[in-house]
């Protein structure tokens, strides 16, 4: 029987893994981008990123000081009786002290910082009920520099695919050097205003080397990624070959009268981690195998 303490401990470990080590798909793409840069300034930027990735693992330290606000995606088994929410909240509190994480969560108006990353609706948890016997918890620790560059457009159906491309291009141009490029772009197309934004962030949960199963969407992902890498924004916006590491799209059917498009911008440090907590209390971290 899984206890609340099991959840709490798993969440501390999950957060530690998430902020210290990148998932393999992101790290591999970064190393390739480093090898591809030839000019001195972008090469130096990519070298600093690669050195920092190695150093963070070696020292078991968060790779970036902005450890984000904690956004969770939880899939519960049908018969779950343990208080998973409490386990997560206490896990965040403990991880803030122990890892440590930067206390980022503040009241939106008073800007008061309680110091433990816990407050009204934070950590934020997205819930699903699945058909497995384990509890699956995924966390994204995403900094504000990239999140601040995110955008939503309520297009008209007549603007169509061109409107989608135009909005994506303008969002990437406007973000420019700010979101710590090379970036990863998550796009949500369709649904409604809130669903499109939710999908844009969920798109970032998929490995960046894995295309969408719908061939039309997969084609658009590749076309946009190749195009945006021709812009020359480059690492840290100082020019260079790699502006973007990946671009993932998720979609949902929408109302015949609307076309919502959302973009969630992720910095190069595409940190995400997943833990599975089995009924016997054993844990597995599929995003961080072998470490």
């Amino acid at each position: 029987m899984v206890s609340e303490a099991d959840i709490q401990n798993a969440v501390v470990e999950l957060l530690r893994k998430a902020v210290v080590k990148l998932p393999a798909d992101v790290e591999e793409t970064i190393r390739k981008a480093y090898a591809a840069e030839t000019d001195e300034v972008p090469k130096m930027q990519m070298k600093a990123i690669v050195d920092n990735i190695d150093l963070a693992v070696k020292m078991n330290t968060p790779m970036c000081q902005d450890t984000g606000v904690t956004i969770f995606y939880v899939t519960l088994p049908r018969n779950c009786e343990v208080d998973v929410e409490k386990g997560i909240v206490e896990g965040v509190r403990k991880a803030t002290k122990e890892v440590p994480l930067r206390p980022n969560a503040v009241h939106p108006i008073t800007r008061k910082n309680p110091g433990d990353n816990v407050g009204e609706r934070m950590p934020f948890i997205n819930w699903k009920v699945g058909n497995k016997d384990y509890i699956e918890i995924t966390v994204m620790t995403k900094g504000a520099g990239s999140e601040n560059m995110s955008a939503l457009a309520m297009l008209t159906p007549s603007q169509g695919i061109k409107g989608i491309k135009e909005f994506a291009l303008n969002t990437v141009l406007k973000a420019g050097s700010n979101p710590c490029p090379p970036t990863i772009i998550g796009m949500g197309i369709g649904g409604s205003a809130d669903i499109a934004m939710k999908l844009a962030k969920e798109a970032l949960l998929r490995p960046i080397n894995q295309r969408h199963k719908d061939p039309e969407i997969a084609k658009l992902e590749t076309e946009l990624l190749e195009s945006f890498n021709m812009l020359g924004i480059g690492p840290m916006g100082l020019g260079g070959k790699t502006t973007m590491l990946g671009l993932n799209i998720e979609y949902a059917f929408c109302h015949t009268a609307s076309l919502p498009v959302a973009i969630n911008v992720q910095c190069w440090a595409g940190r995400r981690a997943t833990v599975r907590i089995h009924p016997d209390g054993k844990t597995a971290y599929p995003t961080h195998e072998g470490g």
Binding site: A48, R102, L173, M236
Partner: protein
């Protein structure tokens, strides 16, 4: 390739003015962190004639909200990379005029009014790789104190002692030049190719 320069804070205006665009440098000496709230507070304090706890003249102001850990009675910088400098665009020209720092360290660059203020008052913008926070923290030998801690860990003024802090790229010099402007012109050119590829006007 030129050998990277090593400069010590507080910086002399003549040294600042001599720095060239694109040059790599390393810093020694005291570095203050200061981001959104420090800019707001320092300017408010000055206006109200209230004392400001540190002297920013010739200093290196780091746009950074670090992760700090207390070990015994001493603070240690765990991770200390830059934050997005453009958030300080609206206050930086005034901050430079009133407090005369010699260098601003950050990421992503700053807008034209800041470039102008840097030229007028002798200040440079030093870019440090965003997200590379463990690497940056390695250049911080010790932390001698904290001011305005009530603003929260990310927003306080951390007084850091740097030792070979960098690499830093001179991305805006004190003569009105900005790497971001140069890259921006190229992006504008490339945008036309991208639009053609995507079938956009």
């Amino acid at each position: 390739m030129k050998l990277p320069k090593r400069l010590k804070t507080p910086l002399a205006e003549s040294d600042v003015r001599a720095l060239e665009l694109g040059e790599t440098i390393y810093l020694d000496g005291v570095i203050f962190t200061g981001r959104d709230e420090v800019h707001i507070h320092a300017l408010e304090h000055l206006e109200k004639g209230k004392p400001i706890p540190v002297d920013f003249k010739g200093s290196a102001l780091f746009h950074c909200g670090p992760i700090m850990k207390k070990v015994g009675d001493k603070w240690v910088a765990v991770a200390a990379g830059p934050t997005t400098s453009s958030r300080m665009n609206s206050l930086e020209p005034q901050f430079i005029e009133k407090f005369r720092p010699g260098a601003i360290i950050g990421k992503g660059g700053m807008s034209q009014p800041t470039v102008d203020a840097m030229k007028k008052f002798g200040c440079v913008y030093l870019a440090i790789t965003g997200g590379a926070a463990v690497l940056a923290a390695r250049g911080i030998k010790s932390v001698s104190g904290v001011e305005w801690f009530e603003l929260g860990m990310p927003e306080a003024i951390w007084i850091m002692n740097a030792d070979n802090f960098g690499p830093l790229t001179v991305a805006i010099d004190a003569n009105g030049n900005s790497l971001y402007t140069a890259v921006g012109a190229k992006i504008k050119e490339n945008e036309q190719k991208v639009r053609a590829k995507l079938g956009l006007k």
